[in-house]
């Protein structure tokens, strides 16, 4: 079963990446200039306070030993405790993660639903007026600071028309419609970059396919343009689309940091920001770790979809 062997081999490749990710995340604390214990303790700490923090975080031990302990605990689902609240980091992150995932996934869906038709539209009418308008909008979408767009959306649709709540989030499990209603504007904000990126990439890869020799041959053979677009253009362009969707998901997850601030959403992104400001490093490390695992899982899924869509990948 070459396919199964390929899948297994690909899944195994994730392990060194995860291992290095843990190294990088652990290394974050090593970046703290001077004495991390003193930095964490704050301006008015006494020598005993600092010593207590050093002991409790194990900062008095050598770095490799600290890393070993941290990794061992992380593998067992223990990302240590928040320095501010004393609660387990994993619980804290998991409590806030759903709001972030909701807006990020919704944004990805919007980006695909809007970006794909726009990309096809622009590519099939390359260099027309419509194409120029679409590429122009896409250029704007890449350059606009999306948290600013979020503010404008709030001022128009939430404050102005009152169609949506201005800020906050609801849990999806208890208040489904409320959660969606709160997620529409943040997701739309987050989707702009993705729409622009998907439109641009899909357009250029489709144009490349449609201008290729074999499509010219198919046209000469008398195949209808719609059939060529569907069977050959999109089939080939879907590989580009997959890659772009992976990148867009990564960007979107990152952009939640600012978007959650605009919409006052208590998510994983705003959690990282607050923890970074308050020097609550276990929370920063834990939340970054969870987000990176999500991205790695997403990349794995995309690679597996590749093998479904592209028979060439399986053969290697």
């Amino acid at each position: 079963m070459p396919v199964l062997r390929f899948l297994f081999w690909r899944a195994m490749q994730v392990i060194p990446v995860i291992f290095m990710a843990t190294l990088a995340i652990f290394g974050l604390v090593q970046l703290v200039p001077g004495d991390p214990a003193a930095t964490i303790a704050g301006e008015y700490a006494t020598a005993e306070n600092i010593e207590a923090i050093r002991q409790s975080l194990g900062l008095d031990r050598p770095a490799w030993e600290q890393y070993g302990t941290w990794l061992w605990n992380a593998v067992h689902g223990d990302l240590s405790n928040s320095l501010l609240t004393g609660l387990p980091v994993l619980d804290e992150v998991m409590r806030q993660l759903p709001s972030t995932l909701l807006i990020a996934v919704l944004a990805l869906v919007i980006a695909i639903l809007v970006g794909v038709p726009l990309g096809i539209l622009a590519a099939t009418r390359a260099n027309s007026m419509l194409d120029r308008v679409v590429t122009g909008i896409a250029s704007l979408g890449v350059a606009v600071p999306n948290f600013w767009l979020g503010m404008i959306l709030v001022s128009i649709f939430a404050v102005g028309f009152g169609w949506f709540p201005t800020t906050g989030a609801r849990p999806l499990t208890t208040d489904f419609w409320g959660a969606l209603q709160h997620a529409v504007l943040p997701a739309a904000t987050l989707a702009t970059g993705g729409i622009a990126e998907i439109t641009r990439q899909l357009r250029s890869s489709l144009i490349e396919v449609l201008q290729s020799q074999y499509v010219r041959t198919l046209r000469a053979k008398g195949l209808s343009p719609a059939l060529i677009l569907w069977k050959h253009g999109l089939r080939n362009a879907s590989l580009t689309l997959l890659t772009v969707v992976g990148l867009v998901f990564n960007h979107t997850l990152g952009a939640t940091v600012a978007t959650e601030a605009v919409f006052a959403i208590p998510g994983a992104g705003s959690m990282i920001v607050n923890a970074a400001i308050n020097k609550d490093f276990p929370i920063v490390q834990g939340a970054v770790f969870v987000l990176v695992m999500i991205v790695i899982a997403m990349n794995l899924i995309i690679d597996l979809l590749y093998t479904v869509l592209d028979p060439r990948v399986k053969k290697d």
Partner: protein, 285 residues
């Protein structure tokens, strides 16, 4: 090497003259540099001096009104310009300083070093960019310079990946083999042959990254991790403006537009450079 860089000054001029988009973008960026240098001549208001004239609407006195602490918004936009330029160039500079040597050595040496560096690149690329930048800024300490070093660290794997691939392509060229055969030292081969021939796509990428760095600065300053008060930055002005959105909307629009236009200018210049350096891509956006 193609003719593009043979006579840099004159070929630059003819390029700018033949490409309207490049000329506009470049002109706008030069304008920003002049604005940064001549800020005290352009507005006599201080960007940080507080007055009792809170949240004044735009008018003859204050072109864009005043903020919640009575500071002239136009002055703050003007004085925010050098912050944005500094931030973009610092972040991209840090990215280059880390990314170029790693990527180039990995591509040139191959073997286990390449394997390790490539894995590191893959790993860092799976970190959501801004999230990593926030975390690194938190560790280094809050402030514009640290925030932009953090953004540079986020950019480094992208640059390393690109230059690695370019280096691999170039090192198999005949002229590199020839240089080897008559005993040119490795560092000299890298400097004389690899760097000049592998750098073209990096130039395009770096220009596009300036826009990314600007947007990252805006986000980080908006979140309070970048430029610290009382000094202004466009992103941080948006955070204040947002609070008073309903009373003083002008404060929210101008800094945002400034960010948008500057990012557009970097991107436009990058795209123009791309079609200039690689004519086969013409018309493929």
């Amino acid at each position: 090497m193609t003719s593009t860089f043979d006579r840099p000054a004159s070929s630059f001029l003819s390029w700018i003259r033949s490409d309207l988009r490049a000329a506009l973008c470049f002109g706008y960026l030069v304008l920003l540099v002049l604005l940064s240098a001549a800020a005290p001549l352009i507005t006599h208001y201080s960007p940080i001096e507080q007055t009792m004239d809170f949240l004044a609407p735009p008018g003859a006195d204050h072109w864009l009104g005043t903020d919640d602490l009575g500071r002239d918004v136009f002055a703050r936009v003007v004085y925010g310009t050098p912050m944005s330029l500094y931030a973009s160039f610092l972040a991209v500079g840090v990215g280059l300083v880390i990314g170029l040597p790693f990527g180039m050595l990995a591509g040139y040496c191959g073997g286990w070093f390449d394997a390790v560096v490539s894995r590191m690149i893959d790993t860092l690329l799976s970190f959501p960019g801004i999230v990593l930048a926030v975390a690194v800024t938190g560790a280094l300490g809050i402030g514009l310079t640290n925030a932009m070093i953090a953004v540079g660290i986020v950019f480094a794997p992208n640059i390393a990946r690109l230059i690695r691939i370019q280096t691999i392509v170039v090192k198999n060229e005949l002229y590199v083999e020839a240089a080897h055969s008559f005993g040119m030292p490795v560092w000299s081969i890298i400097l004389r042959h690899i760097v000049p021939n592998a750098i073209q796509p990096i130039i395009v990428q770096v220009t596009l990254m300036l826009a990314g760095a600007l947007l990252a600065e805006a986000s980080l300053s908006f979140l309070g991790l970048g430029v610290q008060p009382p000094w202004p930055s466009w992103g941080q002005m948006l955070a204040r403006g947002y609070t008073y959105m309903e009373i003083a909307p002008a404060q929210m629009y101008v800094p945002g537009l400034a960010i948008l236009l500057t990012a557009l200018a970097y991107n436009g210049l990058g795209e123009s450079l791309r079609s200039r350096l690689d004519p086969t891509r013409l018309g493929r956006g």
